[in-house]
């Protein structure tokens, strides 16, 4: 089925077309089922392509499908072409699979929404963009998907557009992404300027012609793009705001797929990163720093989705830590496992929010395990996965990352293990607050403007008895929980599902070989497990009985290290003042002033000159004589100089 690879992208696009033409007429829920069906079909085709790819016998299994020439101008020949290899295939499978589940979930979650069909239109468009990003065989194609997912993210975050906070969050997400995209673009230009192509494979074949300085520059520029898309320091603040979007969007775009595009991109360009140790180290440091900072912020958030959002930022940091350490396979492993358990956690939180009639404040939840049993059970799996408790997938994936970090950069390993403790703590805090303790949602807590975050979401009026969600919402929870629990099998050496055996050939010699002894691995594994279990216990103990522990929730952390305020003061407001200055002073006074000044001058000199039109011949003769003298004099000087 390799020759129908294009169908993987085309099917969701057809879905977009169907929603565009007939979405409103199909309505709720038929439009949703159709949207789900197209993505499901795309998943089935992906499985077929995957099975076919297995039959390719080569050191690296690849397949290129050339569709059409997109931008042909002389040496610049950008083709719309797809490139399939185990790395891309891994992405395609989990992107289409999880997308299909989240589409299904959305049928329930979005039920009754005014723009029900439009939601599926955007969601289908997102899936198509994400697949273009993954399957593109050159930097420009990847960029198409890259900006495409950013645009869909904008449309979906601002989906409930009548809410100002949602509209602003959508804009913020787009602009932060745009900053990153500018870096990505310049990276493309630099690659083209040095090797006259944008095809990955051709670029990798001509590394020596690019030169090491340019390689480092390209990697760092791509890293700027990655910071935007994958919400890394310093471009991470948008992701928390993006939680304004409907929860399925948070699960699909802002946890499982789009934000991992940066991880994918850096894995895709692994030969470049391998050739530039300084760029790789930068990636590792950024990753570690982001993992730690975001984890501290997650410890103090009140909004259930914001905890998960900062947790996503933190987990993405781990993935970049792995990439910077040369452990690409570990990054992919964590990405896939994270897609399962974080998708699960978001959908679970959606179920909670749904059940509590749009309440998102953890302090107004509590004891929900009695009312939402399915949600609780599946959520608990996600909690323990993210906390990296053995033997769930999170333990293996995070362990793989930390082992490799230990071998490559021991100092960063320390950051990693501290962050692992924080992770276990904040997830236990979240779970304890939401599902244990007393029924705090029963008490009508007055809205406390001082205590609340700006733009906090609360249920309107008193909350009724929470109710479990319908089957279209709980079925995806079960499936994701199952995958999240057992995804650790990808770590079994030489096993049927071993991830390394499948994707390692893509990275070849660029993969960092950690020569850790068996003993070292055991020790590190035990350390991971002890840290995870200890901090799960600590977090649970602290938060299962009470919801108020002010010393643990400092304003500094609640306010995300004041980073929004910082950017506003350093960039936002000065830029605004500059723009106002350009408009009010430069444009109207200086530039236009000069124009009006010239006009005035012409008018003035016109009236002055009018006085020379005296009508007396003698005056004119004088003028002619003076003029002649001037001209003759000028010509004489020219002669002289010549």
């Amino acid at each position: 089925m390799l020759h129908v690879t294009y169908l993987i992208i085309l099917l969701p696009l057809v879905g977009v077309g169907v929603q565009l033409v007939a979405g409103r007429r199909l309505g709720d829920p038929v439009a949703g089922w159709i949207g789900t069906a197209f993505v499901g079909a795309s998943f089935l085709v992906s499985v077929g392509v995957y099975l076919d790819l297995l039959t390719v016998h080569a050191p690296v299994r690849t397949f290129t499908q050339d569709l059409w020439t997109w931008i042909p101008v002389d040496r610049l020949q950008v083709r719309a072409a797809l490139y399939v290899d185990p790395l891309a295939m891994t992405m395609v499978l989990f992107v289409t699979g999880i997308s299909a589940l989240i589409h299904l979930y959305s049928i329930g979650y979005m039920h009754g929404d005014r723009d029900f069909s439009k939601f599926f239109l955007y969601l289908n468009l997102f899936v198509a963009s994400m697949l273009i990003l993954v399957l593109g065989n050159n930097l420009v194609m990847t960029f198409v998907g890259w900006e495409g997912v950013g645009t869909c993210s904008y449309l979906l975050v601002a989906f409930w557009f009548t809410r100002d906070s949602a509209a602003s969050a959508g804009k913020k997400a787009f602009v932060y992404n745009r900053i990153g995209d500018a870096g990505f673009l310049v990276a493309i230009f630099l690659a083209y300027a040095t090797v006259h192509t944008t095809d990955y494979q051709v670029i990798f074949a001509h590394l020596s012609e690019i030169g090491s300085a340019n390689i480092t520059a390209i990697c760092l520029l791509l890293l700027v793009g990655v910071m935007g898309k994958s919400a890394q320091i310093p471009l991470f603040p948008w992701l928390a705001d993006a939680m304004e979007g409907p929860t399925p969007v948070s699960a699909l775009i802002h946890a499982a797929t789009m934000v991992t595009a940066g991880v994918y991109l850096l894995c895709r360009v692994n030969p470049l990163l391998h050739a530039s140790p300084s760029a790789a180290l930068t990636v590792a440091i950024i990753g570690a720093a982001t993992a730690f900072v975001a984890a501290t912020i997650a410890c103090a958030q009140q909004d259930i989705k914001k905890v998960l959002a900062y947790s996503t930022v933190s987990q993405l940091g781990y993935m970049f830590l792995a990439i910077g350490s040369g452990a690409y396979t570990a990054a992919i492993f964590l990405m896939v496992a994270h897609a399962f358990f974080k998708g699960l956690l978001f959908l679970g939180s959606g179920s909670v929010i749904h059940g509590l009639h749009d309440e998102q404040d953890l302090k107004r939840m509590g004891n929900l395990r009695r009312y939402l049993p399915v949600t609780f059970l599946t959520f608990a799996v996600g909690w323990l996965c993210l906390a990296a408790v053995p033997p769930l997938s999170g333990f293996w994936a995070k362990g793989d990352v930390l082992d490799n970090t230990w071998a490559a950069h021991p100092a960063l390993w320390v950051v990693g293990i501290v962050t692992a403790g924080l992770t276990a703590y904040y997830m236990s805090r979240l779970t304890a607050l939401a599902f244990f303790g007393s029924d705090r949602w029963k008490a009508a807590v007055p809205v406390d403007a001082h205590h609340d975050e700006p733009g906090a979401h609360h249920a309107e009026g008193p909350v009724g008895e929470p109710h479990e969600s319908p089957w279209v919402m709980t079925l995806p929870l079960w499936i994701l929980a199952a995958f999240a629990a057992v995804a650790g099998v990808m770590a079994i050496p030489n096993g049927q599902f071993n991830l390394g055996r499948w994707v390692d050939p893509v990275f070849g010699a660029n993969l960092y070989a950690n020569h850790l002894s068996g003993t070292a691995l055991w020790v590190l594994g035990v350390v991971d497990a002890v840290v995870a279990v200890t901090f799960v216990a600590v977090g649970f103990h602290l938060w299962s009985r009470t919801a108020e522990r002010p010393p643990l929730e400092g304003t500094f952390l609640r306010r995300s290290w004041y980073v929004n305020e910082l950017y506003d003061a350093v960039l936002g407001r000065p830029a605004q003042r500059l723009a106002a200055f350009c408009s009010d002073v430069v444009d109207s006074k200086v530039v236009d002033g000069a124009v009006n000044g010239v006009a005035g001058l012409v008018k003035g000199s016109g009236s002055l000159l009018r006085r020379t039109q005296t009508g007396y011949v003698r005056n004119y003769v004088l003028g002619i004589v003076l003029g002649t003298v001037f001209v003759v004099g000028f010509m004489l000087t020219r002669l002289w100089w010549a």
């Binding site: 059409w68 020439t69 997109w70 931008i71 042909p72 101008v73 002389d74 040496r75 610049l76 723009d115 439009k118 420009v140 960029f143 198409v144 900006e147 495409g148 645009t151 904008y154 449309l155 601002a158 557009f161 009548t162 809410r163 100002d164 509209a167 602003s168 959508g170 804009k171 787009f174 602009v175 745009r178 900053i179 500018a182 673009l185 310049v186 493309i188 230009f189 630099l190 083209y192 300027a193 006259h196 830029a575 605004q576 500059l578 723009a579 106002a580 350009c582 408009s583 009010d584 430069v586 444009d587 530039v591 236009d592 000069a594 124009v595 006009a599």
Partner: protein, 522 residues
Amino acid sequence: MASSFPYLTVLVLVPAVGAAAVALVPSRRVASWFHEALGLAVTAVTLAVAAAVTVAFKAHDGGYQMVSSHVWATQLGIRWAVGIDGISLFLVLLTAVLFPLTMLGARARRDPRSFVGWMLLLEAACMGSFIALDLILFFLFFELTLVPAYFLIGGWGYARRGYAAIKFFVYTFAGSAFLLVGIVAVAFLHRSQTHVLTFYLPALVHTHVSGTEGVLLFLAFTAAFAVKAPLFPFHTWSPDAYSQAPTAGAVLLVAVLAKLGTYGIIRFDLNLFPQASRTLAPLLLTLAVVGIVYGALVACVQRDLKRLLAYSSLAQIGFIALGTFALNSQGLSGGVLQMVNHGLVVATLFILVGWIYERRRTWQVSSLRGLQSPAPVLAGVFTVAMLASIGVPGLNGFVGEFLILVGTFVAHRWWAVAATAGIIVAAVYLLWAYQQVFHGEPAEEDLGTTDLSTGERLVVAPLIVLIVLLGVFPKPVLDRITPSVDRLVIHVDTVTHTPVPAGLARTQVAAPAKRPSTGGVP
């Protein structure tokens, strides 16, 4: 080379004759819709002719095609010389597409007869400007565009139309004075070298121009074009003119007439003064980049949608100039393509903004809110055009912008980097405006805003289709633009003794050998 049927001459004659017909048929003799219907029919015929030209156009020929050249004034050496190449082809097509759509989408509020008459005259003048190969002929058409534009702004404009029209007229006219002097000077220079007085562009390109002469003449020509485009800092007439003009006037001013400026730079500056173009490229590139960043910044604080679009156009025109002065295939092809792209996108945006005004009698961002609720289709179309303007891939804006930036990066790295930063700001002001107007909880009066009617949908549908099509499959267009651009690049490189890039050497279209040895004539 003469084609059996004089397509190009017909292209000018149809709207010109149409304008005359409209003027000759008095209103009281016919039904009230007659003149508008006639105007629409004439523009439709023009579109058909333009389509025929496109079909007859030979894709891989970079030279002028369908040339027809007749002596007009023998003593003065002026000819009726018209021809088309890949650089002008799509501008002609753009003009032909936009006029009927504008007539449908932005009708006159009063006196439709005069309105249609001026519109047709404007179309004839635009067509003439794009196909003229004689400098005097070009100048006549170029100036002729001013008259209908002036009357459209002054006659059907809004509150400050008088000021805007005068400013527009005087400013562009002042620029044109330099152009006329420049044209005459080039022709005399050529005569002093060959003893032939001609204004025929293909002949004049062989004129030998010394360094200083070239710079002065280049500046004289560029003065007119920079005002028309407009390039920073010659833009201050444009926010007034665009915001005070009636919708149709604004659409055509910014989508078509502005392109006369950038087209003039490519067609005349680069062809006639290659050395000066290369010498002064850093200056023009700097103005372009300043225009991109400055236009975007100023757009950020505009409270009037039309003024916002005017400043966004300043930034977009900056991109076109940037690609032009990269002086290589990618940059120039991107620039030419971007002229078409910008025309389509900005026309869509201005038409939509005009419709918003028809419904709400305001362009003030602060008076509009939450329009996406009552008018989702309007909002959707606006979104697509906005994303195209921002340069989201998959839509047409990206292809042009990408080519321009790649070309510029190869030639002048840091200018391209600065311009890339400009695209970030572009996202800021457009998304901000969109949020203010379409997002949020609509107020009472916003809820009454009606969505697009079927007729209105049919007007924007072709524009949206073209925006998507050019974004996904621009190859047929680029295949026709690139050979002509390559020819120009080779001309510039040959005259300035720049080694022709390896990629171009094989597509050899221009024949540098043809250059006559006029250089040494005393």
